[in-house]
């Protein structure tokens, strides 16, 4: 049974881990390990990842989601992560924010996708207060009708993770590695990537966004900072993460089936 840690303020405790430039696969491995083996609440913030990576959801099929030939030619890593949702290409311009919570510490939120998504939108409404036109639209964070943040979740019996990749900035040419997905939100209206997304940098600086996010977390939790080194799984830990890098052979096979 999880031990509820409650700070003096009466709010549940949340550990904030700030990182910069950590490889996205390593971040995903740490997150899944914390979700499955920790009993504490965590907020992981990774300010940019080290190089461009394509990250698909758990059921992602590369043949449908990725332009295989240029990806292979340009050696872009393709990862299948442990959470649901769609495909993103992330790089140094992406800011990642992940909340890993005990369901009992967010007791007014039922541990299902839509209530968790709504809870997150309330938190980020605080972050973007005063910034034009922020809202949760279907399951994306948008300014107006353009997406700048993509969400995904994993829900276990007693805990859940809600993580977001925010497009603070991006390389337009990287979007050409992604195909138009078959499953897309209605508001996308068949727009291609560059007409569908927008960068956050036009609205908030990186540091201001991260500061506001931590401030918003503090309205729900009693936060404490933790170093990244302290949360990296020890080498003798018996936990095998399920997020993984797809091999060239798998991508080539996917490319052959899509012909």
């Amino acid at each position: 049974m999880a031990t509820r840690q409650v700070a003096r303020a009466g709010l549940p405790l949340m550990n904030i881990v700030r990182m910069k430039g950590v490889p996205i696969l390593q971040q995903l491995e740490v997150e899944e390990c914390l979700l499955r083996t920790s009993s504490e609440n965590w907020c992981i913030i990774n300010d940019g990842t080290d190089k461009p990576n394509i990250v698909m959801g758990i059921s992602g099929k590369p043949a449908e989601l990725v332009e295989i030939s240029p990806v292979l030619e340009d050696k872009i890593p393709v990862i299948r992560r442990f959470t649901g949702g769609g495909t993103v290409i992330v790089d140094h311009g992406t800011i990642f924010v992940s909340f890993i919570c005990n369901k009992d510490d967010v007791a007014d939120v039922q541990p299902y996708p839509r209530p968790i998504m709504s809870w997150s939108s309330l938190l980020y409404s605080q972050v973007f207060q005063g910034v034009t036109n922020f809202r949760l639209r279907e399951n994306d964070y948008v300014f107006g009708h353009r997406k700048f943040g993509g969400n995904a979740q994993s829900i276990t019996k007693n805990r859940w993770i809600h993580h977001t990749s925010f497009l603070w900035d991006y390389e337009a040419r990287n979007m050409s590695y992604l195909r138009l997905p078959k499953r897309a939100p209605e508001y996308r209206l068949a727009r291609d990537h560059l007409d569908f997304i927008c960068p956050m940098k036009d609205y908030l600086s990186r540091s201001e966004f991260i500061t506001r996010t931590i401030d918003a977390a503090e309205s729900h939790f009693s936060v404490e900072s933790t170093e990244f080194e302290a949360v990296k799984p020890p080498s003798n830990m018996k936990f095998t993460p399920t997020s993984r890098l797809l091999t060239n052979q798998e991508l080539e096979a996917a490319g052959n089936t899509s012909i």
């Binding site: 758990i58 039922q110 996708p113 399951n139 829900i155 276990t156 019996k157």
Partner: protein, 196 residues
């Protein structure tokens, strides 16, 4: 008459076979936290309940019927078990599929593996989430529903029949006795929904 129509439409909506019975009795209503719930007041075995599900940001609500079948046992993580002879069939409940949304992918274990009571054996993907599915009992997996690979939506359209997930040879049949019956599970769902 209204109840028979409702029973028929519920059974049809869930694609329940004619051999499956839904029992109905006079209903009473209560308002709880903005939800309208209907539940049988005197029935020894329980059927289904109504709830309002908020449809969208414009606060329109749809009246949905959540089915709870007689003859099954239920876990507090919203899985059901049907024990017939030496095999137990397991899936997720109508309440669970309603809360999860459209299921687009199902991850199932291999035949020959084992499941342990209250531990995960697979997952479903819906909306943007993967959600663990836990086994209500322990045992050996003897069959998995391969139809769910091509048609994961069976979990939504037929959670108690075509959307079954695994079949297990129970290793400890007494575990079934600790599970909830239909009336208890209905009350559990209403209390859980009413708390939010």
């Amino acid at each position: 008459m209204a109840l028979r129509i409702w029973a028929s439409s519920t059974a049809n909506a869930l694609r329940l076979s004619s051999a499956t019975r839904l029992h109905f009795s006079p209903l009473s209503r209560c308002f709880s936290s903005g939800n309208l719930h209907s539940y049988p007041s005197n029935s020894p075995s329980l059927c289904s309940f109504l709830k309002f599900r908020r449809q969208n940001r414009n606060l329109t609500y749809a009246l949905v019927s959540i089915a709870v079948l007689d003859g099954l046992k239920y876990a507090n993580s919203h899985e059901w078990v049907k024990h017939e002879g030496s095999v137990a069939t397991i899936g997720i409940t109508d309440h669970a599929q309603d809360h999860l949304g459209e299921v687009v992918f199902v991850e199932l274990p291999d035949i020959g593996g084992s499941v342990t009571k209250a531990n995960g054996f697979g997952a479903v993907e819906s909306v943007k989430a993967t959600s663990d599915v836990n086994s209500p009992i322990s045992g050996e997996i003897v069959e998995v529903n391969t139809n769910l690979k091509e048609t994961p939506g069976l979990i939504n359209s037929s959670p108690y029949e075509a959307g079954w997930m695994i079949k297990v040879k129970p290793s400890n049949p007494s575990e079934l006795e600790a599970l909830m019956g239909p009336k208890e599970y209905t009350k559990f769902c209403e209390e859980e929904d009413g708390a939010h």
